[in-house]
Symmetry: none
Subunit: 142 residues, 4 copies
């Protein structure tokens, strides 16, 4: 298992930020967590409101804790709303059922962390996460 | 009232684990609580993500606090979603409305604890709990 | 980095328990966490009160989060009580400045988890943790 | 009042990191907050344990909320330990009485944020914060 390094996490934030500005996305927050759910890097763009960081962190934590990207959990939640609404409280709010929480895998496919992005549509958020992960030489959801 | 012993709780975890591996279930977490809702034993299988333990514990607590297995509460929640969504918050998140939280009874039918299992389908989770409870010479939901 | 397996964690709990009974220690609780601070195994002996599990978990978390066994932090806290009293709250109560939280290292010296034990003296608690870690083929504090 | 930009905050983290490595300090965590106490950037170096980020964040919050660097509060706490131990709880743990929380001022002397650093001695932590703030064209505590 490869450790998620400080350098890789900083590359993820910087590259996701560059991609967001190229695409003229709304202001975003980025949070990169290690496999244990602990912060390695984070950044909040100019104009992104302060809840964005919390939502980005919860997306990344949700991906790690559930073992799948939040795009998947978001779909599952549609079919079982009472259960999914409840476990938000059970899990202390550390989950967000919207795309933008993307698992980071090493070359062997082992999960070594997750990126959470919040601010634009869930799909655009997830795309930024994947661009950042790829730039760091790691593997996201595509 | 028979106390739920350390030995019985360890047997429940070990046997539920063996059953899960024989059945090729997804990686599971197991939590065994006493009648007061306090942990006696717990285990998280290789590959089970870290939310699994939280969900398993909430299932066991839910069974004790509601007085019925979570399979029953899950059915009730379907008919009254607003009430059930709300009491998750009222109860501090210590409830999960999905099968896999199973009451443990002694030979006299007295509730002496509960097992929570999370990771596969609710039905498969509950089956593991019952196999473990039976192996410890105690009585679950069947 | 070696992962801390379910099997190793169960061995740690079982062996620490056997050692405690051989030594006629007071009733103990054992908590084994992975490198990210998440539960892999836990057990509470007959007669151990329910706070013991919480204290054992906080000892293990403290060792991981501080990067040293709690025997070391306990010594440091004596010389700087205001700072150490305060960070208990800062860290959400997930620290205990008393021996019994012991880091688990793999053969390369990498920290892969921690054991927390609570119930007897801090020194006796830590000895149980080390006996368990050694029995699992891993490296504790001696 | 100048806003604390994403670019400035990233510069602070990157420069503080470079300084720490040049000085061979212990592994550090860095947290940069805006004037409202909300995260703009953060990073945790390889080998820094996960509590470091929490402590760095609390140092930065403490500087903002008290209106002085934590080096000053740390001195004050020595003379009034009961008061300072108590307000940690009053303030939800968002304070740490150790150097390493440094206010960020713009050219007019207005406080626009704070940096928290944790991992080495408080004095070394604070020095890293000041190097980063200066590199961003802003004014720290010297």
């Amino acid at each position: 298992m490869t450790a998620l390094t400080f350098a890789a996490a900083q590359t993820i934030v910087a590259t996701a930020h560059d991609h967001a500005r190229t695409q003229n996305l709304k202001p975003l927050a980025f949070v990169v967590l290690d496999a244990g759910g602990h912060l390695v890097a984070a950044g909040r763009e100019d104009g992104a409101t302060f809840f964005r960081t919390e939502i980005a962190k919860a997306k990344a934590t949700c991906a790690l804790g559930m073992g799948v990207d939040t795009a998947v959990t978001a779909e599952r939640a549609k079919g079982n709303p009472t259960f999914y609404a409840g476990i938000v409280t059970t899990l202390g709010g550390d989950v967000v059922f919207s795309p933008g929480g993307v698992l980071i895998h090493d070359a062997d496919g082992v999960v070594i962390g997750a990126v959470g992005v919040s601010g634009d549509t869930g799909e655009a958020d997830a795309a930024c996460a994947n661009v950042g992960i790829k730039a760091a030489g790691l593997i996201g959801s595509n």
